[in-house]
Symmetry: C2
Subunit: 469 residues, 2 copies
């Protein structure tokens, strides 16, 4: 086994013990020397394992007397509630709240509302090199029209799909300007004005706004903060032919952070095939697992092509380039036609740059490092909430992604907190924009894609103070 994997294996084993209370907060960990003896590894590997645990916020060093299990994870708040939306068609909008937020863009100094990576988590120099290289690897430096897009990017996407069990050829991939275009093309291809679609509740506001623009009705589904959407409810809708398709973020969803189990995914695909209801699957957060392995997808279990899989590099690498893709399954002709209708073709140079970046294996390495960083940010955020927020605050317990869903007591006014926060130049997102119904008025979403520092710690402290009233 590679040394690199060895230290991670040790760290994971210790993390497992901590999370399962085999090791408790304040417990002293085995010494480096003990680890070396027990595991038969070098001092450097054992040290690296403990540094890793330190990074993850799980252990701390005390006065050179050794490593101890740290405070953070034990004090997580209670789990946020399973959502109970009304299971009726809905074509309303949350445009008023949305407009207020858009108008306040740029007014905040501390960004807790944006599900993106801060620049210090992006390998900027290497991306620039890959971009420069793209002017050489593309015919005519990519200055002219292209109908096929970057083949190099498509091939690397197909290759990497193995990580979630996808078996693809590059011809299965349609590249797009970000994931926004990917899922929009799917909805445009498969729905007509007046149709009904099903989504999680809460769900990404972009889905709701698009549905509104396309004149679609929306049914919101009960959703668990850990396991995601309720398959039973969704199956009933499919069986009763009440929906044209479902649009789900199956891994580390936005905003709740839930992740469907492999069993649920497999089951859902079976049902979708049976009732012939397409699943539009958004997997933009799937790579951002807190552990070494990323979760699988509905597409993993899709033999018939009923799943339209959408993804991008906006959450994992370079949001500024707007590079996304989709696997349209058996709806390739329809989706390709809509893409041609709406955008003709994409800017190829940024697509090729990411293809180049992936080609030399930098993406794997980047994602591995990123997972640790994100996890560390997350632990810090949980710790800060535990320290500063009201005692009756509940939170989701995501295992990946960039979003933390926070539920205050039932009478809490989240939009009020949003307004107070923005006056203090802190941006958060009120729960109301993630639904078309009158719910989540006591919820907010905070993001942890930005490196943790003293400024963020203070912002959370202030936010807690404001929340306490």
């Amino acid at each position: 086994m590679k040394k690199e994997l060895l230290y991670l294996k040790i760290a994971d084993a210790v993390e497992h013990q901590i999370k399962n209370n085999v090791l408790k907060v304040g417990d002293k960990l085995p010494s480096i020397r003990t680890i070396c003896k027990e595991r038969g590894v070098s001092v450097s590997t054992a040290t690296q394992a403990y540094l890793e645990l330190d990074k993850r916020g799980l252990v701390e060093v005390k006065n050179k007397s050794g490593y101890y299990v740290s405070y953070a994870h034990q004090h997580f708040k209670k789990l946020a509630s399973v959502s109970q939306p009304k299971m009726v068609k809905n074509a309303n909008n949350m445009e008023d709240v949305m407009r207020m937020i858009v108008e306040n863009f740029g007014k905040s100094k501390i960004q807790l509302s944006s599900a993106h990576l801060s620049p210090d988590l992006v390998p900027i120099k290497k991306i620039n090199s890959a971009l420069l290289l793209a002017t050489k690897t593309l015919a005519d430096s990519g200055v002219t029209y292209n109908t096929e897009g970057s083949i190099k990017l498509k091939k690397n996407i197909a290759k990497r799909a193995l990580s979630w069990g996808g078996k693809l050829n590059y011809e299965d991939v349609i590249t797009t300007a970000g994931c926004t275009d990917a899922y929009a093309f799917c909805l445009m291809a498969l729905t007509q004005r007046g149709d009904t679609i099903a989504v999680e509740s809460p769900t990404y506001f972009g889905f709701l706004r698009l549905a509104h623009q396309l004149g679609l009705n929306v049914i919101e589904l009960p959703t668990h903060p850990v396991h995601g959407v309720d398959i039973g409810s969704l199956t009933k809708l499919m069986k009763a032919k009440k929906i044209k398709l479902c649009l789900l973020t199956t891994n580390y969803s936005n905003p709740m952070g839930g992740c469907m189990t492999s069993e649920s995914k497999r089951e859902l695909v079976k049902v979708a095939e049976k009732y012939n209801v397409p699943i539009v699957e958004d997997d933009v957060y799937g790579e951002l697992s807190f552990s070494i392995q990323r979760p699988d997808t509905c597409k993993t279990y899709d033999d018939s092509g009923i799943v339209l899989y959408c993804n991008s590099f906006s959450k994992t690498l370079v949001s500024g380039y707007r590079v996304g893709w989709l696997l349209p399954g058996k709806f390739k002709a329809e989706v390709a036609r809509v893409k041609h209708y709406r955008t003709m073709y994409n800017s190829i140079i940024t697509h090729e740059a990411i293809g180049n970046f992936m080609e030399i294996g930098r993406y794997d390495l980047h994602i591995r490092k990123l997972r640790t960083e994100i996890y560390n940010n997350y632990l810090n955020l949980q710790r800060a909430i535990s320290l500063y927020f009201p005692d009756d605050t509940k939170v989701a317990h995501p295992q990946g992604g960039l979003n933390l869903w926070i539920e205050f007591n039932k009478k809490f006014d989240a939009i009020g907190l949003y307004n107070k926060a923005i006056l203090n130049k802190i941006s958060i997102t009120p729960g109301r924009i993630y639904t078309l119904q009158n719910q989540f008025n006591n919820c907010i979403r905070l993001c942890y894609g930005q490196k943790w520092d003293a400024e963020r710690e203070n912002a959370l402290k202030l936010l807690g103070k404001l929340a306490k009233g």
Copy 2:
């Protein structure tokens, strides 16, 4: 006066004499020495002027005996007809023909169907430098989300708007992914399903497909191959409140190549203001004038903000980057909201690259050179059609742009010609895709954005043979 302008002035004067038959085909031109004496210029300036005329296809050198007025321009075919569409609402589609064309993408070797520049007309190295520079001029090399877009690009667009009489601040500009997004956002912001819009006839197929997708009815307007859309008909529709907006390519339209006069533009804006009917103005070909000055726009005469002006760099500089923009007039809030709905934000690095390219004055220089090249291509295309096509062929006489509209006799089957051409690996565009009505079945569009060479000459020869049957 700069030497550069001096030689162009001489060339223009001679061209004027040729076009007005002061100098006739076969006439010997004054010797270089005579020009030097008469105009008081150097031998090199006089020679440059004649080389310029040679480039424009207007003169030729005969056995070192001097320059002669050449064959080409005199043999242009008769002017294509003014269109006479039925002035009724129409929501059909030309999707069958369109699908056939899309399926044949990539089957042609000789591209006569694509309104873009060939790579040899694009300053690739300088664009690459501007892109590399963008990784330095943008904060964090443009890898992260941006809500405002490239300010540098917006400032340069505002500056250059002076060339058509536009008085702008950079805040008036909304940047987009190509002109496709620009006009799409305008239509999405200002229309509802079931509304009716007015367009030229023939008009760009992209307009018709978008209207179809948005569920809009289309009224096609009588259009002159030289002066563009018929203002009288359009005024009547506005007055009768029959249309929600009009969508026009005011300069060197696609496919007919007509250009509205300044008087028509001014008049149309007045009427639009009076009846409060927005004009969505597409100006993607406006820069590609065959003469030194580009034409003005409807926006030039727009004091009230009733004009939504759309443009891009796809026809003039770098189609592969997908950089467009729009001036939304008084509809800024609505259009900005739709943009946020549909794309959130754009890839900023390619936008900044063009901003950098413009900043150092390279765009002006490039456009000046490009106009001569395009004009030369156009003259060659007219000459080839004159030589090889059936005698009763009529053509439009564009004064700029990239499109030539060709009308065969009434019984001619343009789709038949399309099919024969594609079997010979030549791509052309049948007239039928530029209308929702049963017309233009005897017309085709050919493009001259590609450098003229022996291969193209032979393709035209073959196309003529196929057209003769």
